[in-house]
Subunit: 213 residues, 2 copies
């Protein structure tokens, strides 16, 4: 399928920004290769040999950096989820009122899931393949993301800016709407990641009944 | 992981309703087994031998009903997408005004994605593994689902019931919000499929600026 074939190239486009904090360069190259392989074939159909091959390395060289295939998935998942927490937390403490902050959070979160849709799909759809301890750590990061949005909704409701009956359920729906962009987004489509982000920010402000404060 | 282990049992719970139109019983049993296997391990990591074994059949018996593993994925995908079109089209021609119809569509679509979340994940996340002709057919069904929601939004906007600037983008967002329920839903959670459906219908009516007609 053309779709699957395109996923690799896209992951490569992703790589420079997503993994810039990962050192040395060989470890970073392996993460990029793992994202490509997991996105194209799924975690269980991918071998460490496939990943090493894509990175132009030997399986032995891979084991210097990652003990197992699960360790690679964990690193991808951790970096992706930490990025989510950072984006949301920056927006939640940004300038303006709660509506401005919520709109900024949605714009940033959508933009990340569109621009890095290949990475985001691995991050969001392969969670069940994580080992127990790693899974628990990632679930903690997901809770943190949900709390950031929930607190923002609660603050807006308390200030009379939003009308939100169930802050927890609404926060989950807001994040869910943004995450699913990674499933359907294709580069070169009708709208850019920025345009989708701006459009979704408007939809979300309506969802929370935002009124000028 | 407990999550992955639970997926099989859940698919089994799904099976009776989802595949009731599939005959003979052996073909139905193989579809249920394929959903379980694809959900747990992904399409590419699953063999026809795995699927036959889960269904308590020999690989030779599988080939009487399905020529390839892709044929099984196609049948799962087709049944799932035809169900979506039917649910949306029934809601879109149901009683009441456009707001009632949109709310009914969201309730039915969310409920299906929650109750059949294992099937829905396979239907939504393994599209890229379909062969070219099958992929084109499924894309046609997806377009039909989008059109049904878009036409409903346009009708509501024209009647002055909704305030929608971009019916196409909004329709995509509405469906996207509902589809993503399949990713995060877990049975026995805080809310039932019906409760999530009712809550999401309210959020969507806000998104489209619904006013009493």
């Amino acid at each position: 399928m053309a779709q699957a074939a395109g996923a690799g190239a896209q992951a490569q486009g992703d790589s420079q920004e997503s993994w810039s904090g990962v050192a040395p360069e060989a470890a970073r190259r392996l993460l990029v290769a793992a994202v490509e392989a997991f996105a194209e074939r799924g975690f269980h159909a991918t071998t460490t040999r496939d990943i090493a091959g894509r990175a132009g390395m030997s399986p032995a060289a891979l084991y210097i950096h990652y003990r197992t295939k699960e360790e690679l998935l964990y690193q991808i998942s951790r970096v992706g989820h930490e990025r989510s927490v950072r984006l949301l937390s920056e927006a939640a403490s940004g300038p303006g009122g709660n509506a401005d902050r919520l709109a900024a959070a949605v714009r940033a979160f959508v933009r990340w899931h569109a621009e890095h849709h290949t990475t985001a799909r691995v991050v969001q759809y392969e969670l069940a393949a994580l080992g127990e301890e790693h899974y628990a750590e990632i679930i903690g990061l997901r809770r943190r993301s949900e709390e950031l949005v929930r607190d923002l909704l609660a603050a807006g409701a308390e200030a009379g800016e939003f009308e939100v009956a169930d802050a927890r359920g609404t926060a989950l729906a807001v994040l869910s709407l943004c995450v699913d962009v990674a499933r359907w987004f294709t580069p070169g489509g009708r709208r850019t990641p920025e345009e989708i982000g701006a459009f979704y920010a408007d939809l979300v402000l309506r969802m929370v009944g935002a009124r000028p404060s």
